[in-house]
Amino acid sequence: MTQNNPLLRLEHVSKEYGNQTVLNDVSTTIASGDFVAMVGMSGGGKSTLLRLIAGLESPTNGQVSQQDRIITELNTDSRTMFQDDRLLPWMTVRDNLTFGNHTPQSIEHANDLLARVDLSSFAESYPTDLSGGQKQRVALARALMSHPKLLLLDEPLGALDAFTRRKMQDLILDIWRQEHLTVILVTHDVTEAARMANKVFVIKNHRLAWQEHNALNYPRNNSQAVAAVADDILSQVIA
């Protein structure tokens, strides 16, 4: 692993809202190409950590840096996918990717990505005609439009049914491996973390309580092995 030259470096990061501490002295590194799953109970601070990395908020103390650049404002080298799709309902699926920028290159790129998420035939449709899973696939394609180094996923699969969710997991894993992305996934589903991530962070009581490599080989089709890892993570979360 490239621990000596990490993509992201968090140093003594704290975040307070008034008197309330949300994150307390978090320090870690994330290597380029990692798939990190951040798990923990609700209100534990994992979403806040993701927002700090995205540059949507700044830490009260400490600093977040990406490739030696300290993140003080919007991290333009990252893209975030939210729990809800946040598609613009008045734009076609393709325009949601290009934001109405109709240069031939951006249209071609959008078409490629729609093909990648298997939605080519919906390019001209409006979001209202799509199912929940299809909308999240559009959101994923949109996140990839600017070739980001870092993909931040804020529980994007939380609202999907079990089958759709499983297919989405495989799609994200595929893209992660083919595009050489770095992914940070916030989830409260320990099985999802065990299935997808090669590195697991447990955030508990506003601290980074536990981090561990998940050495299972991809594709992780052995459900017993995955369940065992998930069990490990779960015991750390509730310990």
Binding site: T76, L88, P89, W90, M91, Y126, P127, D129, R142, S146
Partner: protein, 272 residues
Amino acid sequence: MQLSTTQLKHQTALPSRRRHHISRQLIPWLVPLMLLIVWQITAQAGVLSASVLPAPTTVLQDGIALTQSGELPRNLAVSLFRATTGFAIGAIVGFVLALLTGLSTTWRLALDSSVQMVRNIPHLSLIPLVIIWFGIGEPAKITLVAIGVFFPVYINTFHGLASVDPELLEMGHVYGLTRWQQFRQIIFPSALPTILVGIRYALGVMWTTLIVAETVSTSSGIGYMSTNAQDFLDMKTILLCIIIYALLGKLSDTMVKALERQLLSWQKGNVA
């Protein structure tokens, strides 16, 4: 007032099945048609004297006579000019002001509470002031219509801009949209349905204000025709004017609805 009827749904559910399609287009005309028939029958049977309620055919003959004499087309044209100019001025000022207050906190603090305060004044009570400031010519009438149109456009535009989903705005920020792109791609389209509701409402206000404006020193316009007819109990012309107003109101409303269908085709049910 219905200024806050932003929940008004825009043209929902056009059924795809064809046999429903035709009946859907016909049913709204059924009640007016029935009224017309009942009206004609009662008038012909002499239940009501012609001075109280002349028959629709009498009204139609009056309309034809007034058209041939050139009086009706001329008054119609003048009314349409006043309505359109007043509407354009009121709607543009209302829209621009709402853009300022809706998008800038400084402007909002400076202006919005004043506008909200003034909006509850019935604008027709301003007639004496308008006469003193703008005289009795066309500017006064156009100003009255503009004032009437201003408030629904301002209030709905402001409300539309202010109630944009903050999550979409955050998404736009995260995806690196410029301020102009944020406005063009997110804020404006999101406010558009509410703005169009304001415009539809403003068109109604436009006609009602115009009737009253046309009672202030004038010798032309549909409002003039009808008050003049009222003074001399000319029932058929009064009814003719009422019907013309109804038709003009329906026409302008239908035009905005067509515009809505064009601009809001992304809404479910609007997609052809």
